[in-house]
């Protein structure tokens, strides 16, 4: 379970996140949209405990991240936008390493199983990660999250830069994690894949979640149109140098 209650982050005078309320239940995917600087990364950084909140609370599985960061991190897994692992080390050893940091010692067979589950080709298991394509590395990142078995998952732009086939495969893997009962918070620009995966979406702008759709509403809304409308507000608010 992932929960934000009035979560706020202020850098000096700049309000990066303004009173975010959010709840992602097990087996749910919440997708965050928004332009650059809208507050998506800040949200994820707050949940990871990399920056302290200025107000409100970020809860992972009911644990307050700011109060008990180590405990919270036991319950979460994270996939970066561009998964750069230890390039000279094999995918398998990278996975085992991060699993151990998460408190799980895996055998080689278990590691391979986790890698296979995200659809990584078996020939890639033993190869140094720097030789893998971006899509394959992204799958490794997902496998690491998988292997940890954490109930809360944070995905940072998982589809960026992937070819359609790789993206589709990754989408299937995320769907599998969702079916596995994980609560997933992901930031993305890919409206179509998000719609396919997410149970709820939010559009952020200037640190606030300005629109939010879930359930029936999500099924019927024209996300692209709403998104463009919301962003157009930006253009009005910040007139260009015309």
């Amino acid at each position: 379970m992932i929960e934000a209650i009035g979560l706020t982050k202020r850098y000096d005078t700049h309000l990066a996140l303004d009173g975010l309320d959010l709840l992602v239940k097990p087996g749910e995917v919440f997708a965050l949209f928004g332009g650059n600087g809208a507050g998506k990364s800040t949200t994820i950084n707050l949940f990871l405990g990399f920056v302290p909140p200025s107000g409100g609370r970020a809860l992972v599985n009911g644990v307050d991240v700011a109060a008990r960061p180590a405990e919270a991190r036991r319950h979460l897994a994270y996939v970066a936008e561009n998964v750069m692992l230890y390039g000279h080390v094999s995918a398998r050893d990278n996975l085992k390493y991060f699993a151990e940091l998460g408190g799980k010692r895996l055998s080689a067979a278990e590691a391979d199983q986790a890698l296979a589950r995200v659809g990584l080709d078996a020939s890639a298991f033993g190869r140094p990660v720097r030789l893998l394509s971006k899509g394959m590395r992204q799958k490794c990142g997902l496998a690491i999250a998988f292997a940890k078995g954490a109930p809360a998952l944070f995905l940072d732009e998982p589809f960026s830069g992937l070819d359609p086939l790789a993206a589709t495969e990754l989408q299937a893997s995320i769907a599998a994690l969702k079916a596995d009962g994980r609560a997933i918070l992901m930031s993305t620009h890919d409206l179509f894949r998000a719609r396919a995966l997410a149970d709820a979406v939010g559009i952020m702008r200037k640190g606030r979640m300005v629109r939010r759709f879930a359930g029936e509403e999500l099924a019927h809304v024209d996300l692209e149109k709403v998104y463009l409308e919301t962003m157009a507000g930006d253009a009005v608010a910040a007139p260009g140098p015309a």
């Binding site: 990399f50 991190r73 994270y78 970066a80 750069m84 692992l85 230890y86 000279h88 390493y97 998460g102």
Partner: protein, 455 residues
């Protein structure tokens, strides 16, 4: 045991990194050159001194009057044995002479240091193991350290790591320990291989070698920690590496060289030639005074059946008085230079603490016996040997022994090395300072990492 996993990953990563291979190869090549040249240097010195000693013996056998008086005036060669770790640390030995001659009245200052015959060589320095460890490897160590945290950040693995319940302090400790271990192991292995390839080195004292190795490991670990400090102070590897290289240039290349200038500031080396001129004048004056005294004694018939030495140079009281006066005159003439030397040594010792490299070079040379202290010991022991030898010859003369033929009966001069405890205790403050630096760098790195931006 998450931190053990970090150490293991560090090892696994290092084993596959080309960087590790580069460090190993650079260390291997430099060590190989250093060992080969060190062995050549020391063996050449040993051979040269042995040859000179053989010639000294030949010269003795060839001289016609072999009596105690002649023996006193024969220039006996006293050779300084090679310092225990001279093959590893050339130190200041190149600037110092390797032997002295003695005769009845003085130690004839030894000519011919290596510097005299290749002065530019002394300025450029030798590529000995101490240079490899003191100057070259720190560059690699500091660069290895500069990648420690900033590298993880650039690869994005830092975020992945700290998405897990891993404590910052433990993680950094494990990373630092792992990388230091790998670095020291690779460098040690390179040294061992170079040692084997070079066909061995003349090493005088295994205990000192052990101390030298420990000192070197401590020093290199310190540089790695300094690199780690750069790494946590920067967000990118390139900036960390730039800062690390600047620190290296400053502390290894510049500061040790500035030390000598600072020590001489307002305290320039006095002219040394006036002392020589004064001593020469004094020698003439004293010889004439001695001759006058002997002449007066002879006129009174006091030296009728005296030994050759007494007949030529007067009885013991006269000789001793003249010797004492000469020694006083020499001491007076040398006083400015001696005072300068003492104040310089004090200042250089103190200023050495301004740079870990200076500390290391100084301590390594101290352990090796090539820092000038041992040379002073050598001169003192040679002086004592000469006194004892003269006393023996005078006793022979007093017993009216007319012949002294046997060169091999001259008590051989054996230089007594300072005890290991003494050598070690002399370098203890410097070792402690290096240890302090290591701890300070590590603590600073931890303190900085505590507030490091993980995003």
């Amino acid at each position: 045991m998450a931190h053990l996993a970090v150490v293991r990953m560090e090892l696994a990563d290092a084993l596959r990194q080309p960087r590790t291979l580069i460090v190993g190869l650079v260390a291997l090549v430099f060590f190989l050159v250093a060992f080969v040249q060190g062995a050549a240097r020391v063996n050449a010195e040993i051979a040269a001194v042995a040859a000179a000693q053989a010639e000294n013996r030949q010269a003795w056998l060839a001289q016609p009057p072999q009596n105690p008086h002649g023996a006193a005036h024969f220039a006996v060669l006293l050779a300084k044995p090679q310092a225990p770790l001279a093959s590893l640390v050339a130190g200041a030995e190149g600037a110092l002479a390797g032997h002295v001659f003695t005769d009845a009245h003085r130690l004839i200052p030894a000519a011919g240091s290596q510097a005299a015959d290749l002065p530019i060589g002394q300025a450029i320095g030798s590529l000995d193991a101490a240079f490899v460890i003191g100057a070259v490897l720190p560059l690699l160590a500091v660069l290895a350290g500069a990648d420690l945290v900033a590298g993880e950040k650039e690869r994005g693995t830092l975020r992945l790591v700290f998405a897990n319940p891993v404590g910052r302090r433990r993680w950094l400790a494990a990373k630092l320990a792992g990388r230091t271990l790998v670095f020291l192991a690779v460098v040690g292995l390179a040294a061992a291989i170079a040692w084997l390839l070079s066909g061995g080195l003349p090493i005088g004292d295994p205990a000192r070698l052990l101390a030298f190795t420990g000192l070197s490991a401590l020093y290199l670990a310190g540089w790695l920690a300094v690199g780690a400090l750069c790494s946590v102070a920067a967000q990118r590897v390139a900036s960390a590496a730039l800062a690390a290289v600047a620190l290296w240039i400053g502390l290894v290349i510049v500061v040790p060289r500035v030390i000598a200038t600072v020590a001489e500031l307002g305290d320039p080396m006095p002219a040394t030639s006036p002392a020589r001129m004064a001593t020469r004048v004094e020698e003439v004056r004293l010889r004439r005074k001695q001759a006058a005294l002997v002449k007066a004694l002879k006129a009174r018939g006091a030296l009728k059946d005296a030994s050759p030495t007494t007949a030529a140079e007067g009885p013991a009281e006269v000789r001793d008085a003249i010797d004492a006066e000469a020694a006083r005159a020499r001491a007076k003439a040398d006083a400015p230079a001696e005072a300068w030397r003492a104040s310089q040594l004090r200042k250089l010792d103190a200023l050495g603490y301004a740079s870990p490299a200076a500390l290391y070079f100084r301590a390594a040379a101290g352990l090796a016996g090539t820092d000038g202290d041992r040379h002073a010991d050598f001169l003192a022991q040679a002086f004592a040997w000469r006194k004892a030898f003269l006393a023996r010859l005078n006793a022979l003369e007093d017993r009216k022994v007319a012949e002294f033929k046997d060169y091999d009966a001259i008590a051989p001069f054996t230089f007594v090395e300072a005890s290991a405890a003494e050598v070690w205790s002399r370098q203890a403050p410097r070792t402690a300072a290096l240890l302090g630096l290591l701890l300070a760098a590590v603590l600073a790195a931890f303190w900085r990492f505590h507030r490091y931006d993980l995003r």
